[in-house]
Symmetry: C2
Subunit: 203 residues, 2 copies
């Protein structure tokens, strides 16, 4: 498996290579990629060898092939359905964001436990009762979920998701979830992000 | 300066030590901390030595002193005013979140360039014209800002922030900002986060 730090770089390369594709550029060198994205060309060449892409000396990489290789490695050559748990402030912003769909991620179902939310629809997606989660996630064969519930409900939400067959979770709740070996978990703790800024500013 | 990965761990320790403080526990060992938070006790002891905290052999750490040391290192023993740039979907969720204030971060001013937003107030905070940003940020001596504008406006927003005296930025726009040496920048690219999940699921 690729280290996470490499995966982050691959998705930054993909964004830039996509813009080259749109401009109709046929080739690009690792030096040009390095200048544009502030990475060392040797780092870029090593990363791209992971996705089976090799440039021709003096000519560079074929932009179309490079994009396809990056897309395939990142799993973006297909569509992914995503379950969102928690229809609160953050859930609403995430469900309204067009950027996910552009990368092939569609928030196709939303779950909540509040009677004032269940039954509403956001941009055509219905908010369903969390009690329905096992049935709906199995039916739609959903593998990716986002947790946007309060910290005290996060573990319970994760347990139901895992029992329903979800294999990868993006967690926004400030709580250290206990998950089994095979599950992929990414945590985003926005308070911790701000603390890294205040820590830097504290001499 | 502490490596970011250490800062992330310190803020997880702080969250747990805070709960011990609330329960009135006087002491805690690195073994107990390790069991609760799934980190190695030797890693915890090394990290805590960074913040000048040393446990007594066989007894552990003084919970109150440990919390104060963590607070001080993370810069949480004081209040921080934060400027939010972009009053859109994400900006609204961030400004509504009570968790930031609990850690001493107050979103005290919001900027936008849309006439339909300027002049509104969200939870008592006025949305101001981005043209006022240099004046207001200097007046309030704001050092931390969050960027929540579209990717094509992100660099312009960052440039004005830096000219106004901001020293640390949390950026949500999917754009690689060019910033000078002394500025602290944390990027959150939610599409990249989802890509790390799809990459993991792609065999
Ligand atoms: N809003 C932000 O900008 C922000 C910032 C940092 C962290 N977070 C974290 O993200 C999470 C969501 O934040 P928010 O601001 O959207 O909160 P919110 O209170 O606005 O929304 C939470 C939603 O979860 C639902 N919920 C509660 N318990 C549930 C359960 N057991 N099952 C299903 N649904 C349940 C609630 O009905 C509500 O709709 C929280 O953990 C919060 O700490 C949010
Ligand atoms: N909403 C999400 O969940 C989400 C997820 C991932 C990434 N993002 C990123 O976060 C940023 C904000 O997303 P959003 O969903 O809130 O977008 P949005 O379109 O809802 O809001 C953007 C706001 O920025 C304002 N704006 C535009 N140009 C500006 C400028 N030059 N100066 C000041 N204000 C300006 C607009 O008037 C608007 O109010 C975007 O870069 C987006 O890619 C958002």
């Amino acid at each position: 498996k690729l280290p996470e730090i490499t995966v982050n770089r691959l998705s930054i390369y993909r964004r830039y290579v996509k813009s080259l594709l749109k401009k109709g550029k046929p080739l690009v060198t690792s030096e040009k990629l390095g200048r544009k994205m502030h990475f060392k060309p040797s780092q870029i060449r090593r990363d791209l060898s992971y996705v089976g892409q090799f440039g021709e000396r003096g000519k560079g990489y074929n932009v179309k092939k490079l994009f396809q290789g990056l897309d395939k490695t990142l799993g973006l050559d297909r569509k992914w359905q995503v379950a969102l748990v928690g229809a609160g402030n953050l859930g609403r912003a995430l469900s309204a964001y067009p950027g996910f769909r552009q990368h092939g991620f569609k928030i196709s179902v939303i779950f909540d436990n509040s009677p004032t939310k269940i039954g509403k629809t956001w941009l055509g997606v219905e908010i369903r009762d969390i009690k329905q989660m096992p049935k709906v996630i199995k039916e739609k064969k959903i593998k990716i979920a986002i947790i946007a519930v309060p910290y005290f409900s996060a573990q319970q939400a994760a347990d139901i998701l895992m029992r329903s067959g979800v294999k990868a979770i993006l967690n926004f709740a400030p709580y250290k979830l206990a998950v089994p070996e095979g599950l992929k978990l990414r945590n985003i703790d926005l308070s911790t992000e701000l603390q890294s800024l205040s820590c830097f500013l504290t001499k």
